[in-house]
């Protein structure tokens, strides 16, 4: 009874926890400006955590008395999270230098946020799920208000915190209802308790609350109100981080919990999710049209993308799960790439965020405008770019599950969405040129180039990228 639990599956998380604390020490005790060193070390820590996560990746293993699980799916999800966080960190490096930010806490808090996300996707019990989620959320609240001297950032932080706390409350309340009506919090126990049982009103209400809590975390309509403000108020590298890592983590968890313990209640949760998904796609497409701040625009764009990713979840099949994982993978590259472009929008040593600042940059900064063009066409889902395939596979899953109306709404809203992506291209290529941008930093250009290239050449080499996703989806549906 007193024997130590099997620690092997959790090596990556444990390493990251220790690394986070160690980085804090490094930051405190280092005499010279610690930001650069701590950031580099944090990227290194992510890389090591990724290696550890891959090395423990294999057959499904449960540990800590059933609280923690690893399998191919959690492994792949963690890789995505680490990749997104690492790329965002690379973007933070020149940003901190340019803005003269000398607070080393940013990378440290990001490490803890990532730790929370990794705990979340590996959770095998409602309790451990909540602990992971809260670690992530608390870290994110701080990150949102990181520019504490700025009014907008403070507003964003407070808004995010209040609404986030509400969402956590909903989630907790839903969990308690589920526990009350089924008698267990473990995922395996829930799966047993809910199998074949007559649909129990209490459990269903509980699940609806849980879904609402998650919908907030992935910023799906109607729980999206915080997104534009937080995206605008937070420092841009943090926004890049916000738009990928927490979303991927929450969507993965969403997938795990709904097709795992709650699989037998699919008829019920499908209705709720369909409403959320349709609303997200449509509102994400329509509301973005009126935006002039590119970060707000990206906020609505991400709301729409979450809607598309949710289609895969609603399909509720292995094919759907695979489509959703593909979607997140491709979304990661598109989004981080776009934020790299946003971070290279600097005029005379000052960051600019209005989309009008992009006017005519195809003449002055052809490389940046080419990269953004590829990314925008990809986001709009135009073949032969990667974004098309992301959409293709989720829509394929939806049609195969007989959800043709949902797929039709999806493709039509993608046409509406195409308008505002095209608008950015129009501004860059068709309008008269405004002031040219400063030469982007090395690491920003690197991230931008890698992401844009990934989006373009995806069509030629889909196999290696997708092999991991296939294994991940298969692991999810083993049981």
């Amino acid at each position: 009874m007193t024997a130590l639990p099997n620690l092997t599956p959790a090596y990556a998380e444990m390493f990251l926890a220790i690394a986070g604390m160690a980085l804090l020490m490094v930051g405190v005790f280092r005499k010279s400006d610690p930001v650069r060193g701590v950031t580099m070390l944090a990227i290194l820590a992510f890389a090591v955590a990724a290696v550890l996560s891959i090395s423990t990746n294999g057959a499904e293993t449960v540990t800590f008395n059933g609280l923690f699980v690893v399998n191919a799916f959690t492994g792949f999800a963690k890789l995505l999270i680490l990749l997104g966080a690492g790329l965002a960190m690379l973007l933070a490096l020149p940003w901190a230098r340019n803005e003269g930010v000398s607070r080393y806490e940013l990378p440290v808090i990001m490490v803890f946020a990532v730790l929370g996300m990794m705990m979340m996707v590996s959770a095998n019990n409602l309790i451990s799920l909540y602990v992971g989620l809260e670690l992530q959320s608390l870290a994110l609240y701080v990150l949102a208000a990181f520019n504490r001297g700025n009014l907008k950032a403070t507003e964003a932080g407070v808004k995010y915190f209040v609404l986030g706390a509400l969402a956590s409350g909903l989630l907790l309340y839903g969990s308690s209802l589920v526990y009350g009506f089924s008698g267990t919090t473990s995922f395996a126990g829930l799966a047993d308790a809910l199998t074949g049982a007559e649909s129990n009103a209490g459990v269903i209400v509980g699940i609806v609350f849980v879904i609402c809590g998650f919908a907030f975390k992935v910023s799906a309509v109607p729980f999206h109100m915080w997104t534009p403000d937080v995206y605008e108020g937070a420092p841009t590298p943090v926004t890049a981080f916000f738009s990928v890592a927490p979303k991927i983590a929450a969507l993965c968890l969403f997938l795990r919990i709904l097709v795992g313990p709650f699989e037998d209640l699919m008829v019920q949760w499908r209705q709720v999710l369909t409403v959320i998904c349709v609303a997200s796609m449509l509102w994400g497409a329509v509301a973005a049209i009126a935006q002039n701040n590119i970060k707000r625009l990206m906020a609505y764009s991400s709301i729409g993308h979450v809607g598309y990713a949710l289609i895969g979840l609603i399909a509720g099949t292995q094919e759907g799960a695979r489509g959703m994982i593909y979607y997140m993978l491709i979304y990661l590259f598109m989004n981080v790439g776009t934020f790299a472009v946003i971070l290279s929008m600097r005029v005379k040593d000052r960051y600019v965020e209005s989309i009008d600042d992009l006017s005519g940059i195809s003449k002055t900064n052809p490389a940046i405008s080419l990269a953004l063009t590829a990314l925008m066409f990809s986001m709009a889902g135009i073949p032969p770019l990667a974004g098309f395939f992301g959409k293709y596979f989720v829509f394929a899953a939806a049609v195969n599950s007989g959800l043709i109306p949902l797929a039709v709404i999806g493709v039509l809203s993608s046409v509406i969405g195409a308008y505002y992506y095209l608008r950015l291209i129009k501004i860059m290529y068709f309008d008269e040129s405004a002031e040219s941008f400063d030469c982007p930093d090395y690491s920003t250009s690197l991230v931008m180039g890698v992401c844009a290239l990934a989006v373009v050449v995806f069509i030629f080499l889909p196999e290696p990228l997708l092999a991991g996703a296939d294994a991940a989806a298969a692991a999810l549906f083993q049981g």
């Binding site: 195809s362 073949p383 293709y392 049609v399 046409v415 195409a418 291209i425 129009k426 290529y429 889909p462």
Partner: protein
């Protein structure tokens, strides 16, 4: 030599050579934009000429006695989803590949002096466009087809938007969003077909039987996309805007190749895969096509802008094509394909004719011209030939297509044939009227008197077009023979599917009758 050609993945070579040209263009390094522009022009010209010559190899090695797909290439792409990289041509698609590669060098030549800004980007856009077009006609997998079909939008959007006329932004958005809306419904139909057949392989789908109820919806999904591309009345309104605002070469490709994509879609997908629904919806297609032929001809008559006039005439001519396809007789379908090829060459040439005077006077308003025959005799000759081909004068390419279509349709439905035939008369009216106002009359306007006749570059553009138009008019067999086997198979399969269905429903009726209910 023969073995070498057989072992070469010829279709992939033709499809992706332009992309290599793009890489080549990207390597041009020079500080002087003038040098970059000149090099870009020459590189693009040689790449497109090379691609055209390579594509002629398909024709010379083509076996026109079989309806099977030839030069087939297949490789795994998304094996988990039954999607493969699958290329091949038959008698229907082969000539469109040649048409695309044939028009491309002419477009480069036509843009030689007309495009002065961002020449390299322009040429890159055209080369990407060529890859997409050729790939689309060669694709034997529906997803691959869709990738190329939609991929066309990206370069075309930029070509119209960056190098277009005054209202280019509006036209580019309209073009893009209109086409995209139709296409996404095609995507849903592709997914639904995949759901039934477990593959997106086109030859397999051609032999898959879809239940009628499903065919009904699938057909509408495909129709949404192809009708916009053709374009059929009433979803043709993007076309005049796109044509008017696009640069000359852009209009040539739009009219010459992109409009054919929709009709090609009907031939490749709607007819063979969904025969029951195609028959069911034939009256709808007839109706829309007849409206297109008569209404847009009348609209063309009222135009003051030369490009707009030709754009509307394109809609009318494509009305002939859709009537011919859905009449589903050997002559009508062959005529429809012939008409598409002819229209590709002729309307492209007409847009180039407009481009010639536009480059000199920078206006397309018909009223600004008049009496050009006096100082531009060569131009007047070329314009006359193309105008006659557009009208369908015997001896030119236009006649063969229209005549075959009308004969073929007459066997099925005399009224449709009669109403469509009015388009020939109306076509003659607006074209002759245009010609009279631009070419004939007194040369009174001062600025017109200084206009020079065709330069050597322009003669180089028009000479091949004139030759092809005459060749297609005088000796059509060299083209008809290529498509004959494939069209025969298409028609036979189509009617066999209809008969089988009629037999089945007849049996059900018979059983009902025998049981006395």
């Amino acid at each position: 030599m023969n073995g070498f050609v057989e072992n070469l993945p010829l279709l992939s070579v033709i499809t992706f050579t332009p992309l290599l040209g793009v890489l080549l263009l990207l390597t041009i390094r020079a500080d002087d934009p003038e040098i970059v522009a000149r090099n870009s022009r020459w590189v693009t010209l040689w790449v497109t000429v090379g691609t055209f010559l390579a594509s002629l190899l398909i024709w010379t090695n083509f076996d026109s006695s079989t309806a099977d797909f030839q030069f087939v290439e297949q490789a795994a792409w998304f094996p988990e989803f039954g999607i493969s990289y699958h290329m091949g041509v038959d008698g229907i698609s082969m000539l469109f590949v040649i048409l695309s590669t044939f028009l491309m060098p002419l477009c480069v030549l036509a843009s030689w002096d007309a495009i002065k800004t961002r020449v390299r980007e322009y040429m890159i856009a055209f080369l990407i466009l060529e890859t997409m077009m050729v790939g689309m006609f060669c694709a034997l997998d529906m997803v691959l087809f869709y990738v190329f079909f939609e991929g066309v939008l990206i370069p075309m959007f930029l070509i119209i938007g960056v190098w277009g006329g005054a209202r280019r932004v509006y036209a580019a958005f309209k073009f893009f969003l209109y086409t995209l809306t139709g296409s996404v419904l095609l995507l849903i139909a592709i997914l639904a077909m995949y759901f039934v057949a477990e593959t997106t392989n086109i030859p397999t789908l051609m032999t898959t039987d879809f239940p009628f109820q499903m065919q009904f919806w699938l057909w509408l999904g495909l129709f949404a996309s192809f009708a916009v591309k053709v374009p059929m009345w009433p979803v043709h309104t993007w076309l005049p805007d796109a044509h008017v605002e696009a640069p000359t070469a852009g209009s040539v490709i739009l009219a010459g190749v992109l409009l054919k994509m929709g009709a090609y879609g009907f031939l490749r997908f709607s007819m063979p895969m969904l025969p029951l629904a195609s028959e069911y919806f034939t009256p709808l297609v007839y109706g829309l096509s007849i409206v297109a032929v008569i209404y847009t001809s009348l609209v063309a008559l009222a135009q003051e802008d030369m490009k707009k006039l030709i754009a509307y005439s394109s809609v009318a001519h494509m009305g002939f094509v859709t009537v011919g396809i859905f009449a589903a007789t050997q002559q009508a379908v062959q005529g429809a394909i012939y008409q598409m090829l002819s229209h590709g060459v002729v309307s492209g040439a007409l847009f180039l004719c407009v481009g010639v005077v536009y480059d000199r006077l920078h206006t397309r308003e018909i009223g600004r011209y008049g009496g050009l025959v006096n100082n531009m005799p060569k131009y007047a000759f070329v314009f006359m030939l193309m105008m006659m081909a557009s009208v369908g004068l015997p001896g030119t390419s236009g006649f063969v297509g229209e005549f075959l279509i009308l004969t073929g349709v007459f066997q099925v439905n005399t009224w449709v044939s009669l109403l469509t035939a009015t388009g020939v008369i109306l076509g003659a009216t607006y074209m002759l009227y245009l010609y009279r106002r631009v070419i004939y009359g007194e040369l009174v306007k001062e600025d017109l008197k200084d206009m020079l006749d065709l330069s050597r570059r322009e003669i180089a553009i028009f000479a091949p077009l004139c030759v092809v138009v005459m060749w297609m008019g005088v000796y059509p067999m060299s083209f008809l023979v290529v498509m004959e086997a494939s069209v025969t198979k298409l028609i036979t399969d189509y009617h066999a599917a209809l008969d089988a269905n009629a037999l089945a429903s007849g049996l059900v009726d018979g059983v009902r009758l025998a049981l006395g209910r």
